[in-house]
């Protein structure tokens, strides 16, 4: 697969504050890449560096094989971007802004633009000063989705949208995916990322701490097991690979298991005679909370 975007040990310092310590990631053609992390972790700073708005202190960012700082204009011809905080010129209408943004990329208002305006239920004749946060986001989203680009970058694009509009957004992103476009999606809505993204990077305090597909990440984590057996199962509680063991009766328990020990646990449980069994893989939220909290100094054991 060809690489659309490569970030190599990127660092950014604002005076004394090191906003980005070590960012490395790669996005391949046709991939929807999720970018998650707590507030202030450096998501927007990374994206702004990718857009050539900020100059890297060290390291490199290349998009389409071009340098993100030096060749910003060439790169921008081939990408579309929606910022997290969309601010528009108060005395232009939404329709004017959409057309203007399209023309900057050498494109025109098309039937697709009109269809998107309808789908997102935007009134393009209103002045931008009268738009709510969600409506301003719609303006930027419509301009981005109706551009023909190779890479789409979304920075928390749905933070102001209602659930119906969020659904429209997800459909549009999936359509881009089917058309073989590449997408970088930074989001707080983990279900959105879980549903759409092929691979995910988790950033924390300016460092990428995990990159991979959701299933790869699950491999590294624990599943939750609810089990009822015929014989008492208390012996399992002492295994080093079993965590947070809580038994409601001697033959009924809930616990978390490290992924690599799952086979062993299942073999033991079946010897005890399984009556009922459910295993739940960790959600992205579980993963996220686990990474987040381990940074905050909590012990892993205190978590599910």
């Amino acid at each position: 697969m060809t690489e659309v975007l490569t970030v190599d040990h990127l660092q950014k310092r604002f005076g004394q504050f090191q906003a980005l310590k070590d960012i490395s990631l790669t996005i391949h053609a046709g991939e929807v890449f999720g970018f998650i992390g707590p507030n202030g972790a450096g998501k927007s700073t990374t994206i702004r560096t990718l857009l050539g708005i900020l100059r890297p202190t060290a390291g490199h960012a290349t998009i389409f094989g071009l340098d993100a700082w030096r060749d910003a204009v060439k790169i921008h011809r081939r990408l579309a971007y929606v910022p997290g905080d969309v601010n528009l010129w108060p005395n232009l209408t939404g329709g004017e802004v959409i057309d203007f943004l399209l023309r900057l990329n050498g494109q025109q208002h098309s039937a697709r633009t009109d269809a998107l305006i309808q789908q997102f239920e935007l009134d393009p004749a209103k002045k931008a000063r009268t738009y709510s946060k969600g409506n301003r986001q719609k303006v930027a989203l419509i301009a981005a989705f109706s551009s023909d680009a190779e890479l789409y970058i979304f920075d928390e694009p749905t933070s102001g949208l209602d659930p119906l509009m969020e659904e429209v957004f997800q459909q549009q992103v999936l359509a881009l995916k089917q058309a073989g476009k590449s997408v970088l999606l930074s989001s707080h809505i983990l279900s959105e990322v879980e549903r759409m993204c092929d691979r995910i990077a988790i950033i924390r305090q300016g460092t990428i701490i995990e990159v991979g597909s959701l299933s790869e990440m699950r491999q590294l984590s624990r599943s939750t097991v609810h089990v009822t057996t015929q014989q008492p199962l208390a012996a399992i509680a002492d295994w080093p690979t079993v965590h947070q063991f809580t038994a409601s009766t001697p033959t009924q328990a809930v616990f978390a298991v490290d992924a690599e020990a799952m086979g062993q646990v299942m073999a033991t449980l079946s010897q005890l005679g399984i009556v009922a069994l459910t295993t739940t893989p960790p959600t992205l939220e579980d993963l996220f909370l686990r990474y987040y909290n381990s940074e905050a100094g909590h012990d892993d054991e205190s978590l599910r």
């Binding site: 050539g52 900020l54 100059r55 204009v73 910022p83 203007f100 023309r103 208002h109 000063r129």
Partner: protein, 539 residues
């Protein structure tokens, strides 16, 4: 009812004062300092009765009346009387500017930024912010007035008295409050801070021009121009308090209207509800330059029209100014007809020089505002979408510089043109347009250098960009009051406006013009390089 409307006003006032104290201190200190320093200088310059008589004669000429207001005192003159006559209009302008700034800043600007919403969700009355802004203006003006009066008492000019000192200080306070009240009303009427500021300055400009026209034509009519009340106080002569009462009364009326209007409108909206606009953009809206033209269209046209009217207003008094025989019939006998015409022209051209400096300084304002906009917009996050588009920084920077220079250049040209057209319409023997335009050619390079400096701050030191306003403020101070205060040569040459030779009296001196153009262009180039290399300012 009262608590619903004005609850927690005191808390908001405290917040406003805490938030603005540095700006308030700088403004008040600057105004009072200027007055005290000028008072000190006057004593030195006009130390003899002969000097006083000569300046009094000058102040009685229509040209000086147009600039400084009428001079009605009778001999023997005292220094304080001259001081009062020369300083009142000028200080009034500054006091009005200070009030417009704080009035809009404490009301409309808070609504625009969304802070008003945050505060109104608390146990705060719907009009508490407006009430707090009014109280803030009263406090600022009273503090400024008292400090000015105390400063004048300390300066203790010959012929001054405590009554005159306090009348001047408190008169300025009432005058400032009058324009602050108008700005508070403008903030209720318009739907943005920028609109409110523009309307307030429009009102200041209209009253100023009306005051000038009536002063030259018939000073009795000046009573009807609002601005003119400050001239009617008879500082250090009759010391009348009636105009102060009028100013305060008018302020109360305007404030009452502002409160009424505020009660009828929604927060965040003006009283003029926004009309729906275009569903699609016009075909010419294609890139950063056309975007700027579109965004600044209205304000550019207002500036151009304003400069033309200002020029025409000054030009319309050239007939009176350039009629020396009227005030001195002996002159016709001494000089003969052609001699009188030459003398009249000399007077007009000399006034045209002062006026052209004023036009150049005023024309700098829209140009510099456009340049600063590059960073202001960036901080408000509006350019993020533009930076993600294939628009190079150099292109965006160049577009801003072009829009700034075009609006500033046209504003200066229109000011000079208005002055020439109106002047020639009323003069018996006209002066060619080309002659007046020497002023434009001479002062345009100064405009370019100031724009270059502004661009340099924008491109390389964005945090300090507001310092650029010191240049036009000091420029108008040194060229308007400088000659009266006997500023030394170097002090008049601190800003580019002081580097221009006396045009349109003399021919344009090309070497300094070439030098200034080169300097201005060099600043712009360095600024462009700086803007390309740095991080963009973040919101």
């Amino acid at each position: 009812m009262m608590t619903n409307r004005f609850a927690n006003t005191w808390a908001i006032l405290r917040l406003d004062l805490r938030h603005d104290w540095l700006k308030i201190t700088l403004w008040i200190g600057g105004l009072a300092g200027l007055m005290v320093i000028a008072a000190g200088k006057f004593g030195g310059i006009y130390s003899t009765q002969q000097a006083l008589v000569s300046i009094a004669e000058t102040l009685k000429t229509p040209a000086m009346v147009a600039l400084f207001g009428p001079f009605t005192a009778t001999p023997p003159y005292a220094v304080a009387v001259i001081y009062g006559a020369e300083m009142m209009v000028f200080m009034g302008l500054f006091a009005a500017m200070m009030n417009v700034y704080f009035a809009v800043h404490a009301t409309r600007a808070e609504e625009d930024s969304g802070t008003a919403e945050l505060i109104l969700a608390r146990a705060v009355g719907r009009q508490s912010q407006l009430a707090a802004a009014m109280l803030e203006l009263v406090l600022i003006n009273v503090a400024a007035g008292c400090l000015e009066a105390l400063g004048l008492q300390a300066a203790n000019m010959a012929g001054s008295n405590a009554a005159g000192d306090w009348l001047f200080g408190l008169g300025l306070a009432a005058f400032g409050l009058m324009f602050g009240a108008a700005a508070l009303l403008a903030a209720q009427v318009m739907s943005s801070a920028r609109g409110a500021t523009t309307l307030s300055y429009g009102w200041l400009g209209v009253t100023f021009i009306a005051r000038m026209a009536t002063d030259v034509a018939n000073p009795d009519w000046t009573w009807w121009t609002f601005f003119g009340w400050i001239e009617k106080m008879g500082l250090y002569t009759t010391n009348r308090w009636l105009p102060v009462g009028l100013m305060l009364g008018f302020s109360v009326v305007v404030l009452a209207i502002a409160v009424t209007v505020a009660a009828t409108r929604d927060i965040g909206a003006g009283i003029v509800s926004p009309r729906p606009g275009r569903r699609t953009a016009r075909a010419w809206l294609q890139g950063p330059l056309t975007l700027l033209v579109r965004l600044e269209r209205t304000s550019t046209l207002i500036w151009w029209l304003g400069l033309f009217i200002l020029g025409a207003a000054y030009g319309s008094i050239f007939g009176t100014v350039g009629d020396l025989v009227k005030s001195n019939p002996m002159l016709a006998k001494l000089l003969g007809n052609s001699g009188v015409t030459a003398a009249n022209h000399a007077v007009i051209l000399s006034l045209a020089n002062t006026l052209t400096v004023i036009f150049a300084v005023v024309a700098t304002i829209p140009a510099v505002t456009t340049l600063l906009r590059l960073n202001t917009e960036e901080r408000q996050g509006r350019l993020e979408l533009l930076h993600a588009a294939p628009v190079s920084r150099l292109r965006l920077f160049s577009a801003t510089v072009i829009q700034a220079l075009v609006s500033g250049t046209a504003a200066l040209a229109l000011g000079v043109l208005g002055m020439a057209v109106a002047g020639n319409a009323v003069m018996t023997s006209p002066i060619s347009l080309a002659r007046f335009m020497r002023g434009f050619v001479g002062y345009w390079p100064a405009l370019l250098v100031v724009c270059g400096l502004a661009a340099l701050l924008v491109g390389c030191w964005p945090r300090w960009q507001r310092l650029i306003w010191l240049v036009p403020v000091y420029g108008v101070l040194s060229k308007y009051l400088g000659p009266m205060l006997n500023f030394p040569d170097w002090a008049q040459r601190l800003t580019p406006y002081g580097w221009v030779n006396a045009v349109p009296q003399h021919a344009v001196a090309w070497p300094p013009v070439a030098g200034m153009v080169a300097l201005g262009v060099a600043f712009l180039v360095i600024a462009g390089i700086g803007y390309r290399r740095r991080d963009l300012t973040m919101n």
